[in-house]
């Protein structure tokens, strides 16, 4: 929809496609200057933080998973970690390794979905991956099979790909045998090669010039590329333990969104996700992934949001390689799960969902019942940054007609792999040109 009037116009995308959830975008242009950009999130609220109160702490991993069908493991892992912290539960090293393996499955599944089915069609001028498959069937098949390997990990270890059943506070209901996990090895070796081909394929796309400004925030770990554990760090030098998150980050409620907006206290907008992880943790990547990164033209610092598709592909190589490493080193834990003590408290949990930092905080009473719940998903944190970035992006593209400007804005928004279901817990574009 367009209203052109000299130098002023309104651009409106009423329903954003190829994102998870429901949202729209509204851009207002006055006298040739972008005066306002709003990501309108109208995904209806589902009130998880409200109805988790009064539930048993042991129920939270199953319930929190239902916030997002694309990244349920992320919700389960941050929830478990927070509750274990609240109740003083120590988790076995092999159980932690299994959690990391499960999470690798989700990274592979979610990233392959985003790269092949949601994002790549933008770069190649197709409306969908189905249309892309009509011309490049073998490529789309490769993406689907790569995605399937991620789902295979989730199915073997979690019971099923969406809303896995095997996760519980303290660990798992049942630990797999080495043979059950080793059955994944051959497919994972294929997946490493397919992921490498994916990096080489996406590295050949055309990337518009754009620099992501502001702070990047991700977890950091002494030895590992962060997935399930670590401190919270930023490119401006923040370095805190997970329990200090509330002192440094806040959420605001704005009129145009059922997703709260994340802010850094005393700072401004910030960005979480693959680019933040990559920039803050490049040194922790295995040599294979660093070599691929250099060959793909992304150095140790990559701030072009369009190139996030390369970084996601690099993370898929990493996740497949890491899964192989975990399986090779696996011996079943003595017990699949730690006991739940009758002790309450407040605990914080933070893990790296495919879309970025996912923070949970729960207060549990001595009877094991949830008294307070706070969940801060990645897309809520990114929403102000997406709006900020779009303002500059649109400003430089005002010469485009509405159809092309809309297409390019949607692509720019997809750079962030927004998950609106999570954030509302997103997109119709409206440009108001006056």
């Amino acid at each position: 929809m367009t209203h052109a009037n000299g130098a002023s116009r309104t651009l409106s995308v009423a329903s954003l496609a190829r994102v998870e959830g429901e949202g729209a975008m509204h851009v207002v242009v006055r006298d040739g200057v972008v005066s306002d950009v709003e990501l309108r999130i109208f995904e209806p609220p589902r009130f998880f933080e409200a109805f988790l109160r009064g539930r048993a702490a042991t129920e939270v991993p199953d319930i929190a998973a239902r916030i997002c069908g694309i990244c349920p493991v992320a919700y389960q892992m941050s929830a478990c970690q927070a509750i274990e912290s609240a109740c003083g539960i120590t988790v076995d090293e092999q159980v932690l390794a299994l959690r990391r393996l499960l999470y690798c499955g989700e990274w592979i599944e979610s990233h392959a979905l985003h790269i092949y089915l949601l994002h790549a069609p933008d770069f190649l001028g197709y409306e969908s991956s189905v249309a892309l498959a009509q011309d490049h069937r073998a490529i789309v098949e490769r993406g689907l099979q790569l995605k399937k390997v991620g789902n295979d990990i989730l199915t073997v270890l979690g019971g099923r790909a969406i809303h896995p059943v095997n996760v519980r506070v303290g660990g798992f209901y049942k630990a797999p045998s080495f043979a059950e996990l080793d059955a994944l090895t051959e497919r994972l070796r294929w997946a490493v090669d397919a992921a490498i081909e994916t990096v080489q394929w996406v590295a050949g796309f055309d990337f518009p010039d754009l620099q992501l400004e502001g702070d990047l925030v991700a977890m950091q770990h002494e030895h590992e590329y962060p997935i399930t554990e670590g401190r919270i760090a930023s490119t401006s030098g923040l370095d805190i333990t997970v329990d200090h998150f509330p002192e440094h980050f806040s959420e605001e409620h704005v009129a145009h969104s059922t997703a709260l907006h994340g802010r850094m206290r005393g700072g401004g907008t910030y960005t979480v996700g693959p680019l933040a992880r990559y920039n803050l943790n490049y040194d922790r990547l295995p040599a294979l992934v660093k070599e691929l990164a250099v060959a793909a033209g992304v150095a140790r610092e990559c701030r072009n949001p369009f190139q996030s598709i390369i970084v996601r592909a690099l993370e898929v190589v990493f996740a497949c390689d890491e899964a192989l490493r975990i399986i090779a080193a696996y011996t079943p834990p003595a017990a699949p799960s730690a006991e739940m003590p009758a002790r309450g408290g407040t605990g914080h949990g933070c893990t790296e969902a495919p879309r970025g930092l996912l923070y949970h905080r729960y207060t549990v009473d001595d009877a094991g019942v949830i008294r307070d719940a706070v969940i801060v998903p990645p897309t809520s944190q990114n929403q102000p940054s997406i709006e900020h970035g779009l303002r500059e992006f649109v400003q430089h593209r005002l010469h485009l007609d509405d159809a092309e400007l809309t297409r390019q804005c949607e692509q720019a928004i997809r750079n962030y792999d927004p998950c609106i279901s999570c954030a509302t817990h997103f997109l119709d574009l409206t440009v108001d040109r006056g």
């Binding site: 190829r18 209806p44 933080e49 048993a56 239902r66 069908g69 689907l144 809303h163």
Partner: protein, 263 residues
């Protein structure tokens, strides 16, 4: 060419996106399905949308806003067949927990400006508002069942979806009964089949995510669940989670809540 292909639409209401993701999770079959139909409207997969009418509409999610009510009627008007998928679209989903509480209090817990939020006091399945031709259960649905439902409607026959309990699937899978052998409380005897009895195979009791089976006798299961160690508090909650608004589960949770207050 497209004129001869059946036209498929996928709609989202209040949900986690997991059930429509199930279609994209059919990695081996997706391109075959996409070849057999015209995907006319499926926002999660394509920015190309075509106006109705549609031969088959698949609906994910529950009705939680005034706009949703208008939209679900529009879907019905535009569609030859409407199939609801998942616990949200068959029983209101986890967000139907508001039906047992005060939604205004819920809003005040999550949002600083309650006046920005427009939502209904209840979460209801599409069938509470329109005629639905078939309901596929699960939180999430099973992909093989989804493919069966799509195939059946495209061929003009009823879907072959068993309505018996999870117990049958455990027997077929060769899983030893976790309630009998290990004393683990299990909702398998009253829960709709379809998942393939995953939980008992992972040493945990079924937690009812596919909702009630077609004919159930929940009151006769309650003593067995209690004997396996479930308190009235746990009984209320196990029936009041993902399919809380499904009539058989609603009745069970309400009864358990009553005995909670007596104790």
């Amino acid at each position: 060419m497209n004129a001869t292909k059946p036209r498929l639409a996928v709609w989202k209401f209040s949900s986690c996106d997991g059930c429509q993701l199930t279609l994209l999770d059919c990695e081996d079959e997706l391109l075959t399905v996409a070849g057999a139909v015209e995907i006319a409207y499926f926002l999660e997969a394509s920015r190309a949308t075509a106006p109705g009418p549609y031969d088959l509409s698949i609906v994910e999610g529950s009705i939680t806003t005034a706009d949703d009510i208008e939209r679900i009627h529009e879907v019905r008007r535009l569609s030859g067949h409407v199939v609801s998928i998942g616990a949200c679209a068959t029983a209101g989903g986890i967000q139907a927990l508001r039906n047992f509480a005060d939604v205004r209090e819920f809003i005040s817990v999550v949002y600083a400006h309650p006046d920005y939020i427009h939502t209904l006091e209840t979460s209801t399945p599409p069938s509470a508002h329109i005629t639905v031709d078939f309901e596929l259960h699960g939180c999430p649905i099973d992909k093989h069942q989804l493919l069966e439902v799509i195939t059946a409607f495209l061929r003009g026959r009823r879907p072959q979806i068993a309505a018996h309990s999870v117990c049958f699937e455990c027997k077929r899978r060769g899983t030893v009964c976790v309630m009998v052998a290990k004393g683990i409380p299990c909702l398998g005897p009253v829960t709709h089949a379809g998942c393939g009895a995953i939980c008992p195979a992972y040493d945990r009791g079924c937690y009812g995510c596919f909702g009630p089976a077609d004919s159930t006798n929940i009151p006769s299961l309650i003593p067995a669940l209690a004997a396996a160690g479930m308190s009235p508090f746990q009984l209320t909650r196990v029936f009041r989670t993902f399919n809380a608004e499904a009539p058989a589960f609603r009745e069970a949770s309400t009864r358990a809540e009553t005995s909670e207050s007596i104790q």
